[in-house]
C-alpha cells in the first residue's frame, strides 16, 4: 500500500453562485505523477488553485501528510511544501536566475546581499537537478523551457517541497525540451516527490503519469491506473455527459453554396498554417481546448493582431486586411467573448451603441441625424427582439443576452456579411442562450455566414454545419456535422501533431 501524501475530500467551490467544484475528492500518493485531465471549465485549475492557496474552498477538507490543513495563501502552501508552477511563469524577468531562486531569502553578508554565495548555491542546486543553466544570466534571456526549469528549481530550493503542481507544463515546449522535462519529473519522482500534472495532451500521459484523474463539469469522474487509461476511455470520461441539445443531423448548406471566405496558410502568434473555407449561409464551428489558437486565428483574420504570413480571399478575390477597419469595410465583424471590454460601450445608450460602427452613414458633414439613428435602431431592436424599455436605455442595464443581440444589431446595421462569434453564450443563462441560437439561425437564413468559436461541444453540435477542430495553433480535424460526435471532436482537440 503506497503512502498517501495528500487527500482532498469533498471539496466544494462556488463562484458568484456557479457551482465550480461539486464534492470533488482526489488522493495523491508519495512519489507519484498524478495526471489531472478534463475539458475547459471542468474544474482542474480551480481545484489546484485551492490546493496552492490562491482560492479558498467553500467546503470539504484537505489532509496533507496525515494532518488536516487550511491553506490560505500561496506562501503558506509553499512553506508546507506545495508549489504550483503556473503556465504564465511567476519569475522576475529582469533578474538573474540565482536572484530569482533566492528572492526574499537571499544570503547576506552584513547589510549586503551575497551574490557570490547565492550564485554558488544556485549552481549547486541546478547541477543537482541536471539543469544546464548559468545562474548569473538574466531570466528574460532564457527560453520558456529553461524559465520553467528555473521555476521548478526555485520550488525545489525549499527543502521540504514534496508536491509540485504543474499546469500544462509542455504547452510551450518543443519535443526535445519535453523529453528533458519528463526526465526531470522522473528524477523527482524517484526522490519521492509527488507531482500533479495538468495536461490536455493525452498522448503524453502514458510516458509520464502513474495515475489519471478525470474531472468533468466540476465533478469527480474517476481515477484510473495509467495501464488501464486508454486514450479512448479518457476521452469518453471527459465528454461523457448527457447531451442537453439535439445535435443538428445534417448540414443546411447546399454543396454548391459559394465560398465567401477562404483563409490559406495563415501564420500568426499561436496560429500555425491554418487554412479553411466558409460558405455562404454556413455556420462553421471552431472547437478546441484552451490555447488551441482559435481566438488568435480570428483576431488575425480580423486584422486585430498582425499576421506573419497567409492569404485571405473573399468571394474568390484576394483581400488585404491590415486592421479591423479593413475587415469591417469588407463586411467582416468580430464579436468578442468579452462583450463589455471589446463589444459595447456599456455607459452609453442602446441607440448610440447600435450605430457605433456606422455613425458616418447617419451623419451629415457636421451633425448626426438623430431621427435616422432612432429609426434604424428601433427597426433592429424590433427585428432582433432586443428587450429594452427604450432605445435611450443605458446598455449596462440590459441582460447579457440582450447585450449580445445589440452587438449583432450593430454589425447588421453596418451591413456585415460574415459574423465571427467568439464564445457567444459564455456567461449567459439558458433562456438567453436559446435566443442567441435563434438569432444565429435567423442570420444564416438571411444569407449571412457565421464562424462560431465555442468551448461547449454540445452547443457546436447543435449549431454548426461543419466543425473545424484546432489544437495548439493547428487545425487537426474537420468534420461534417453528420459525422461529428463529442468523442471525435475531443480526440482531434487533444491531438498534438
Amino acid at each position: 500500500m503506497p503512502e498517501i501524501l495528500l487527500e482532498m475530500k469533498n471539496i466544494q467551490k462556488y463562484f458568484a453562485g456557479v457551482h465550480a467544484l461539486d464534492d470533488v475528492s482526489i488522493s495523491i500518493n508519495a512519489g507519484e505523477v498524478h495526471a489531472l485531465v478534463g475539458e475547459n471549465g471542468a474544474g482542474k485549475s480551480t481545484l489546484m488553485k485551492i490546493l496552492s492557496g490562491i482560492y479558498q474552498k467553500d467546503g470539504g477538507s484537505i489532509i496533507y501528510k496525515g494532518q488536516e490543513v487550511e491553506i490560505s495563501s500561496p506562501l503558506e502552501a509553499q512553506i508546507m511544501g506545495i508549489t504550483m508552477i503556473h503556465q504564465e511563469l511567476n519569475l522576475m524577468p529582469h533578474l538573474t536566475v540565482a536572484e530569482n531562486i533566492f528572492i526574499g531569502r537571499e544570503p547576506t553578508r552584513g547589510i549586503f546581499v551575497d551574490d557570490t554565495k547565492s550564485n554558488k548555491m544556485a549552481k549547486e542546486l541546478l547541477e543537482s537537478l541536471n539543469i544546464d543553466i548559468d545562474p548569473t544570466v538574466r531570466v528574460n534571456t532564457l527560453s520558456i523551457a529553461k524559465q520553467q526549469m528555473v521555476e521548478i528549481a526555485k520550488a525545489l530550493s525549499f527543502e521540504n517541497t514534496s508536491l509540485l503542481i504543474m499546469d500544462e507544463p509542455t504547452a510551450a515546449l518543443t519535443e526535445g525540451e519535453i523529453q528533458d522535462l519528463f526526465k526531470m519529473i522522473r528524477d523527482l519522482r524517484a526522490q519521492g516527490k509527488s507531482i500533479i500534472y495538468i495536461s490536455h495532451r493525452l498522448e503524453e500521459l502514458p510516458q509520464i503519469a502513474d495515475r489519471v484523474t478525470v474531472l468533468r463539469d466540476g465533478q469527480y469522474i474517476d481515477t484510473l491506473n495509467i495501464e488501464d487509461a486508454t486514450r479512448q476511455k479518457i476521452i469518453s470520461m471527459m465528454v461523457g455527459r448527457e447531451i442537453y441539445y439535439d445535435p443538428k443531423e445534417k448540414s443546411n448548406v447546399p454543396e454548391d453554396a459559394p465560398v465567401i471566405l477562404e483563409v490559406r496558410n495563415l501564420v500568426a502568434n499561436n496560429v500555425k498554417n491554418v487554412s479553411f473555407k466558409l460558405r455562404k449561409g454556413e455556420i462553421l464551428g471552431f472547437a478546441g481546448l484552451m490555447g488551441a489558437g482559435r481566438t488568435e486565428t480570428m483576431r488575425a483574420i480580423f486584422g486585430a493582431d498582425p499576421l506573419a504570413s497567409g492569404e485571405i480571399y473573399m468571394n474568390g478575390e484576394k483581400v488585404e486586411i491590415k486592421s479591423p477597419y479593413d475587415a469591417v469595410s469588407h463586411g467582416i465583424s468580430y464579436l468578442s467573448e468579452d462583450r463589455r471590454a471589446f463589444g459595447l460601450a456599456i455607459g452609453l445608450s442602446v441607440k448610440e451603441n447600435a450605430v457605433m460602427a456606422s455613425i458616418e452613414e447617419f451623419s451629415s458633414t457636421l451633425f448626426m441625424d438623430d431621427k435616422k439613428i432612432a429609426d434604424v435602431t428601433n427597426e433592429y431592436v424590433e427585428k432582433l427582439s432586443v428587450k429594452t424599455p427604450s432605445i435611450n436605455q443605458l446598455v449596462r442595464n440590459l441582460s447579457g443576452g440582450n447585450q449580445q443581440k445589440l452587438v449583432v444589431a450593430k454589425w447588421l446595421i453596418k451591413d456585415s456579411e460574415i459574423f465571427i462569434f467568439d464564445e457567444p453564450t459564455r456567461g449567459i443563462d439558458v433562456g438567453a442562450k436559446s435566443e442567441i441560437y435563434d438569432l444565429m439561425e435567423q442570420l444564416v437564413n438571411e444569407g449571412k455566414s457565421i464562424i462560431m468559436i465555442s468551448s461547449e461541444i454540445p452547443e457546436l453540435l447543435r449549431m454548426s454545419d461543419r466543425i473545424v477542430v484546432m489544437c495548439e495553433g493547428r487545425i487537426t480535424g474537420e468534420l461534417d456535422i453528420s459525422e461529428a460526435t463529442q468523442e471525435k471532436i475531443m480526440s482531434y482537440a487533444t491531438m498534438n501533431m
Binding site: P74, L75, Q78, N90, L91, M92, P93, H94, L95, E99, I103, G104, R105, E106, T108, I111, F112, V113, D115, D134, V137, R138, N140, T141, S143, I144, A172, N269
Partner: protein, 329 residues
C-alpha cells in the same frame, strides 16, 4: 536570444547617452557664447547638483515601474520651510537644513502610503502631492521669497560645505559623486535594491515569493523624498533665493535624465551610472541654452522635446527587446 544580448543593449544605451553628452557639449562649445570655459563647466556642475540628487531618488521609483511628479515642488517645499525656519523662526542654519530634508522625506512617506497602501496610481498620487507641496510652501512663507545666508555672512559657511570651498573648488560635485556611489551600492548590493528591481520586473511574482511588496514600495518613495530634500539643500546652497510657488517642472529635468540614462519607464531595468550621464545631459542642455542667450522658456520648450524623445526611445527599446524574444521562442 544570446545570453548577453540584454546586457549588451543596456550597455549600448549608456554608450549612446555618452555620445549624446559629448555631442551636446561640442554643439554648445561651437554655438554657445563662451560655453567652452571653466566658468561654464562650473555652471554645469552647479545645475547638476539638484537635478542629480532628485534623479538618484527617482531612479529607484522608476525602476519599480512608478513615477514621482512631486519631486520638484517637494524639493522647493523643503527648501522654503527650511528658509522659513532660518529667516522667520530664527532657527540655526544646521537645524534649518535638517528641516529641509525632514519635510521632503515626509512628503515622500505620504507618496509611499498613497501609492503602496491606498493603491493610488503613482501618476495621480504624486500629481496631487505636487500641488500640495507647492501650496504648503507658499502658505508657510506667506508667499515671501526665502533667502539663505550668503558667503561672508556668519552662517554663509554652509555654502563652503555644499557648494564651493573658500578657494572656489566646486565641492558639491564631491557630494554628488559620493551620493551616486552610495546609491549605486544600495541599488545593486542590498536587499532593498534587489526588491526594487523585483517589484518593477514582476510585482505579483515578488509578492508570491514572500516579499512585503507594499512596505518596500513605500520605502522607495520615502527614499525619493529624502533625496529631494538633499536636492533642496544643494539648490539653496547654489541659488540662495527660494521663490514660493515654483518648482513644478523641475522634476521633469530629473525624470528625463533618468530615462535618457537607460532606466525603463515600464520598470525592472535601470542603473545609477546611466542616471549620472542623463543628469549631465540635462544640465548641459540647461546651461548650454542659456549660453546661447535662450532664456527659461526656451529651456522649458527643449526639455519637453527631450522628454518625449527619451520616452520614445524607451518604447523603441522595449519593442526591440520583445521582437528578439519572439524570434527566440
Amino acid at each position: 536570444m544570446k545570453p548577453n544580448n540584454f546586457s549588451k543593449s543596456m550597455g549600448f544605451q549608456k554608450i549612446l547617452a555618452l555620445g549624446v553628452l559629448a555631442l551636446l557639449y561640442i554643439f554648445f562649445a561651437i554655438f554657445g557664447n563662451n560655453f567652452f570655459s571653466w566658468t561654464y563647466l562650473v555652471n554645469i556642475l552647479d545645475a547638476s547638483y539638484f537635478i542629480g540628487f532628485m534623479a538618484i531618488g527617482v531612479t529607484f521609483v522608476i525602476i519599480t515601474g512608478g513615477i514621482d511628479l512631486s519631486l520638484g515642488t517637494t524639493m522647493m517645499c523643503g527648501a522654503l520651510l527650511g528658509g522659513a525656519a532660518y529667516n522667520i523662526w530664527g532657527w540655526g542654519i544646521a537645524e534649518s537644513l535638517i528641516l529641509v530634508v525632514v519635510v521632503a522625506t515626509i512628503i515622500g512617506i505620504i507618496n509611499g502610503l498613497l501609492i503602496a497602501y491606498l493603491k493610488l496610481p503613482p501618476f495621480i498620487a504624486t500629481l496631487g502631492t505636487q500641488m500640495v507641496g507647492m501650496g504648503f510652501g507658499a502658505i508657510v512663507t506667506k508667499v515671501m521669497t526665502m533667502r539663505y545666508p550668503t558667503v561672508g555672512t556668519p552662517d554663509g559657511f554652509f555654502k563652503n560645505i555644499f557648494y564651493k570651498t573658500s578657494t572656489g573648488f566646486p565641492v558639491g560635485a564631491v557630494w554628488l559623486a559620493v551620493a551616486f556611489i552610495i546609491a549605486s551600492i544600495v541599488l545593486n548590493k542590498t536587499k532593498f535594491g534587489r526588491y526594487t528591481f523585483a517589484i518593477g520586473s514582476n510585482r505579483e511574482a515578488a509578492r508570491l515569493s514572500g516579499i512585503k511588496v507594499q512596505r518596500w514600495q513605500a520605502l522607495v518613495y520615502t527614499l525619493c523624498g529624502f533625496f529631494a530634500g538633499l536636492a533642496g539643500i544643494f539648490y539653496a546652497a547654489v541659488y540662495t533665493s527660494i521663490i514660493p510657488s515654483t518648482g513644478n517642472g523641475l522634476e521633469v529635468l530629473a525624470i528625463a535624465g533618468v530615462v535618457i540614462g537607460g532606466t525603463s519607464m515600464t520598470g525592472g531595468v535601470g542603473s545609477i551610472s546611466g542616471t549620472i550621464i542623463g543628469v549631465f545631459i540635462m544640465s548641459i542642455l540647461k546651461q548650454g541654452l542659456m549660453s546661447m542667450g535662450l532664456q527659461a522658456h526656451w529651456q522649458t520648450f527643449f526639455t519637453g522635446i527631450v522628454v518625449i524623445g527619451a520616452v520614445l526611445l524607451d518604447n523603441y527599446r522595449i519593442a526591440q527587446a520583445q521582437k528578439v524574444k519572439i524570434k527566440a521562442d
